[in-house]
């Protein structure tokens, strides 16, 4: 298993380490997932996400190339900003979801999921033929930690002696923390205000320790998953995949009406189903793969992710359902170990903002 520069720090904090996409990552610390989750909703938490991959795309054709190869419009992305995007395949589905940062007119950093870096890299290289761009895997040059929660900005302002009030959502800013250069992006995957910090691997432990000493709760991948699900964000391998048409999901806004690789298979397709949020009305927790039916038991689809919301204590899920039952308020059933449990289609996030 690969280790991030923070592996020893996680061990010292008593983390439970698991194999995630070939990386030895903390799933939780001794205080537990619920505690970590609530720390982020109510105060501030810090996650090691250094397993994510970073690809540099640079060159005179960087914009036309990324407009062609990714679904969002990289041409609309201003220098010093970030943008959520997706990498399509030629079957109407997805290779990965991505975050793009524009560092200069002709210079972008593409952040991909840990398990997908190599396929993303491969596809970008294949599609780059004929474009004046250079693609470099910078994954080993970056440690990445996410400082998330309503207290994140204040904590980082204290540590960096910077005013972050003017830094808008999706904007980046270069600061120093404990003498270490840190690029902060006001982005995240929790539904809360927060920042993702790009750090040289050699500085990662120093910055992490300062953030933890300043009061951020160390949070593992378990809380990362419950937070993103509660916020209604997709996870590749659950809500998104090679067979997922993003136009049938709440994330259809990412797909911009322009020429792009694989458009023909995606744009005109009608998969006959939609990705929706579910709130369970009966007792039980829906899990990935559980069947969803109508009230007479006719199959409608299946659950992609589910948990008990640590914040609301309700069982929540995302699921594919036939288009006939995709409207908010529709009543369906989730089959939990043979028992049909009533659920209602709702629009995430699953908690009040």
């Amino acid at each position: 298993m690969q280790r991030t520069p923070l592996y020893e720090a996680h061990e010292a904090l008593g983390a439970r380490i698991v194999d995630f996409a070939g990386w030895a990552m903390p799933i939780q610390y001794p205080s537990g997932i619920n505690h970590e989750h609530l720390a982020v909703r109510q105060d501030v938490g810090v996650f090691d996400v250094s397993h994510m991959g970073e690809l540099r795309v640079r060159g005179a054709d960087a914009v036309p190339f990324l407009r062609w190869s990714t679904l969002n419009d990289a041409g609309k992305l201003r220098v010093g900003r970030g943008q959520y995007s997706m990498l399509p395949n030629d079957q109407g589905g997805l290779v990965d979801d991505l975050y793009l940062y524009r560092d200069a007119d002709d210079d972008f950093l593409v952040v991909a999921n840990a398990g997908n870096v190599d396929v993303v890299d491969g596809q970008l290289r294949r599609l780059s033929e004929g474009f004046d761009v250079v693609i470099e895997d910078e994954s080993e040059r970056w440690a990445l930690i996410a400082i998330q929660g309503p207290g994140a900005a204040l904590l980082l302002e204290r540590l960096s002696s910077s005013d972050l009030a003017a830094v808008r959502k999706n904007q980046t800013v270069d600061v120093h923390v404990g003498g270490c250069p840190v690029r902060l992006a006001r982005t995240g995957y929790t539904g809360e205000d927060g920042f993702e910090a790009f750090i040289a691997p050699a500085d990662a432990v120093a910055v992490w320790d300062l953030v933890v000493e300043a009061g951020a709760a160390p949070c593992g991948l378990g809380a990362r998953d419950t937070l993103r699900l509660e916020a209604g964000f997709p996870l590749y391998g659950h809500e998104l995949g090679p067979d997922t048409n993003p136009l049938a999901t709440p994330f259809a806004w990412v797909v911009k009406d322009k020429p792009f690789f694989g458009r023909e298979a995606m744009w005109g397709a009608e998969p006959g189903k939609r990705l929706v949020g579910l709130r369970l009305d009966g007792r039980g927790i829906a899990r990935q793969g559980y069947e969803v039916t109508d009230e007479r038991g006719t199959p409608l689809g299946e659950v992609t992710s589910g948990t008990l919301s640590p914040l609301t204590r309700e069982a929540i899920a995302m699921a594919w359902v036939r288009t006939s039952h995709a409207e908010p308020g529709s009543v369906v059933q989730v089959l939990i170990r043979g028992q049909a449990v009533r659920a209602t289609v709702v629009v995430p996030p699953f908690y009040g903002r």
């Binding site: 997932i33 619920n34 378990g222 007792r283 039980g284 069982a315």
Partner: protein, 128 residues
């Protein structure tokens, strides 16, 4: 891990108290609750159900996953811990006391002696 000597255990991480008038109390071990993490939901068997040793008869769900709970001995379910419905986290805080799951009137009380003792169970759990 905390493993009381007064109890017997099975490899699937349940404990059973010594038969009292033929009735044993069943729960999951401290090791098991620690591995599961925050318990958020419990599904218990119906009282009166006849169960075989090793039969999956309850479910304990943590934030991340659902785990089957197996009957350590054959018998009849005579009580379930209804307090867990509102406070499933008791399984984490008191796995051997308030976090018990169900009581079985066992078919053969002497079978309890054949289960793993604390040292035997710890050896199994450490190898897991």
């Amino acid at each position: 891990m905390h493993t009381p000597d007064s109890l017997r255990y099975v490899r699937s991480h349940e404990w059973a108290s010594a038969p009292d008038d033929g009735v044993v109390t069943v729960g999951i071990s401290d090791f098991a609750q620690d591995q599961l993490g925050d318990v958020v939901f419990v599904e218990l068997p119906d009282v009166g159900r006849q169960v075989a040793a090793g039969e999956a008869i309850a479910v304990v769900e943590s934030v991340k996953t659902a785990s089957d709970i197996y009957a350590p001995l054959a018998g009849e379910v005579v009580a379930v811990n209804e307090g867990l419905e509102d406070a499933p986290e008791t399984i984490n805080s008191a796995p051997y006391e308030g976090g018990w799951l169900f009581k079985l009137r066992v078919d053969d009380p002497s079978a309890w002696d054949g289960l793993l003792d604390a040292a035997g169970y710890e050896a199994v759990a450490e190898a897991d």
